[in-house]
Symmetry: C2
Subunit: 260 residues, 2 copies
Amino acid sequence: APRIIAVANQKGGVGKTTTAINLGTALAAVGEQVLIIDLDPQGNASTGLGIGRECRECSVYEVMLGEATLAQAVQPSLVPGLFVLPSSVELSGADLELAGLPRRSYRLRDVLHDALDDPRTAYSYILVDCPPALSLLTINALTAADSVLVPLQCEFFALEGLSQLLRTVEMVRDTLNPVLDIQGVVLTMFDSRNNLSDQVALDVRSFLGNKVYETVIPRNVRVSEAPSYGKPVLIYDMQCAGSRAYMKLAGEILRQERPA
Amino acid sequence: APRIIAVANQKGGVGKTTTAINLGTALAAVGEQVLIIDLDPQGNASTGLGIGRECRECSVYEVMLGEATLAQAVQPSLVPGLFVLPSSVELSGADLELAGLPRRSYRLRDVLHDALDDPRTAYSYILVDCPPALSLLTINALTAADSVLVPLQCEFFALEGLSQLLRTVEMVRDTLNPVLDIQGVVLTMFDSRNNLSDQVALDVRSFLGNKVYETVIPRNVRVSEAPSYGKPVLIYDMQCAGSRAYMKLAGEILRQERPA
Ligand SMILES: Nc1ncnc2c1ncn2[C@@H]1O[C@H](COP(=O)(O)OP(=O)(O)OP(=O)(O)O)[C@@H](O)[C@H]1O
Ligand SMILES: Nc1ncnc2c1ncn2[C@@H]1O[C@H](COP(=O)(O)OP(=O)(O)OP(=O)(O)O)[C@@H](O)[C@H]1O
Ligand SMILES: [Mg+2]
Ligand SMILES: [Mg+2]
């Protein structure tokens, strides 16, 4: 069965989408079969993987409402071994719409568990890109997931939100999904020129210890240029510091999975 | 009557909170009476203005549910002439809770219009810091506001979300608040060293013309250091590029208000 990882943090702009796209690409590059689910109404992960707005007729919205199957909505991306369940603008109404449905927190979990019984869907990793809120959509991702990957921007406001996120993960583990664990925290947009980054990194490591990956993603303009070409930075500029960091992160995650 | 401005953009991490705090401080510095309403469950605006988590017993949450009045919940900040209606963690459940209440989209508007009839509340500007979502909380802010100030990070993903935001503003104007207008778009975290910033700035100005302020807020590490001291950057480092930019922005906004 695939490892399902929710990429979540209610703080906005911390690198959730960038991490889902580029970690997914790095895992596919080393031979894993990866599905990225874009659960954010903004649809940035779909765009960053080259899926135009006009190609999102069938999205995760229809799948969660039971109007389409996973197999019908999943599309291949430009990266071999990497597939996308795209977002759609309809998702922005989903929180209120799902609120009135039965099993409202389990909609994504039920879909994935039904589909994954089918031998044809042979993913080894599923990454779920979450919106910047502890909303019903994010709760759905946490309920469906085996673990949470937390991108953490090396800034003060981002640090402030961490304990609220960890409390939510605990609440979901206690009430909805007993296996939910922290996959790890990855420091993003680290700028070695400013003390704030160092300070935040020190604080987080002393607070969470080895839950924080050794790999740190540097602030690197090539990373933010890549989405305007509809490509992951690993395809846009394989040699840049951002690409190398995401490859290293993929290595750390793969080593986590293998029993010692 | 005060000018009520919603500081909104569903894209995360674009500088909404930083703009609300520092524009508010700059307006207070030139003698305006300013109220900042922290409508984001993360509570970054409250923290950035020095209001500790333990001082948020009475917040905008109680006020919107009718359990406290505006006057009871508003606190002075460290800046003369600048007041804060703080956020609280309870707000993260507000979207689902408000959904079942009468006049769910008008809760904030009704509170402000009741309170502002009282001559003792003599604010000239009210800035509402919104969460990164087109949720019921943000709809409440757009319904209560005279106009929307849109901080726009000079990045590709931020540009992508702009048309979705403008469609939402139009929807609110047509159904909930006929006076709602665009106050303006302010470019944030502009990095003159990289082409992406220039490219996004050109795109936005050609798309929105003079709705885009001349003042551009530069990426400036002092801006991101200030919140860890619980101070606006105008207090933390008055001379830095970020402070000067927010003072200039306040000037542009004040000139907008005066008829030619
Ligand atoms: N390592 C990096 N170096 C430079 N820019 C980066 C880096 N990582 C992300 N960015 C840029 O920072 C912005 C925020 O990143 P991203 O959109 O991935 O965050 P997010 O957490 O998904 O945001 P949201 O909360 O809106 O979903 C984007 O414009 C992205 O291109
Ligand atoms: N001009 C600037 N220069 C440098 N850093 C900045 C600037 N403006 C904001 N920041 C930093 O960027 C991060 C994002 O800004 P901020 O939190 O204000 O955005 P936001 O839109 O309110 O985020 P959210 O969507 O989570 O509410 C913060 O850590 C902030 O300190
Ligand atoms: Mg995102
Ligand atoms: Mg904010």
